[in-house]
Amino acid sequence: MAISDAEGESPAAAKEVGGERKRKRLAERSLLAKWKTEGERKSYSSKLIEALRVVRRSSCPAPRAVRVAADRALAVTARGRSRWSRAILSRRTLKLRSRARVARLKPPAAAAGPRAAERRKPPALEQKARVLGRLVPGCRKLPLATLLEEATDYIAALEMQVRAMSAVAEILSAAAGGGRSSSVAAEPM
């Protein structure tokens, strides 16, 4: 079943009032499925190359460095289609956590009116949405709908990342266990 990047090919969807939205949704579904197919292989290779470069730079690669490289490669695979991927790529190498978490206390529903009526969200939902916005890179101040879209894509990507890294770990541990390393230089590290 070839999943092509159909950009609004179905005439039925175009007829509807929200035709543009439905088209986007159809495209999104195929995008999500991509994380399980070809995209997987591509992230494989780009991530591996990244990770191995990290190894070459430092004799003792820290897990954090591997994680950063893996995330970067994942973001690259997303091809800048999603906010979270763009946010990851625009991260500076040295991620300084100097930004203290400023708790923004908004007056509890003080500004009631026509605006509040449109987006009436229970506070519990808002709080959870905020937590979610912190978890997905670059999605702190997004409207709920966009945040949900980003989270959906991000989850699919993360699952693929886990699958790919697990497979690589299997390959490497199998190779290491097989004793194929020709240059057995016992590095006292």
Binding site: L52, P61, L172
Partner: protein, 85 residues
């Protein structure tokens, strides 16, 4: 790709929530029809956190493996298996 939605309908949000729900592992197993939006958001947060933890664990494992392995043969091994599959 700017979202020119002046009014985000609740229906759309509900759809997105159910789509998100279908991705969550718990729902996949039990096949629950529809949980509340708050529950889905909470499950999503937990799921993302657990995925992050998995990635961190795997990163540690990979860094260990790569430290003990010869880089060139490691890369060769990976490329080989990529072509195999």
């Amino acid at each position: 790709m700017s979202s020119r939605r002046s009014r985000i309908s609740e229906e759309e949000i509900t759809e997105l929530i159910s789509k998100l729900q279908s991705l969550l592992p718990e729902t996949r197993r039990r096949g629950a029809s529809r949980a509340s939006a708050a529950k889905v958001l909470k499950e999503t947060c937990n799921y993302i956190k657990s995925l992050h933890r998995e990635v961190d664990d795997l990163s540690g494992r990979l860094s260990e493996l790569m430290a003990t392995m010869d880089v060139d043969s490691a890369q060769a091994e990976i490329v080989r298996s990529l072509f195999r599959s």
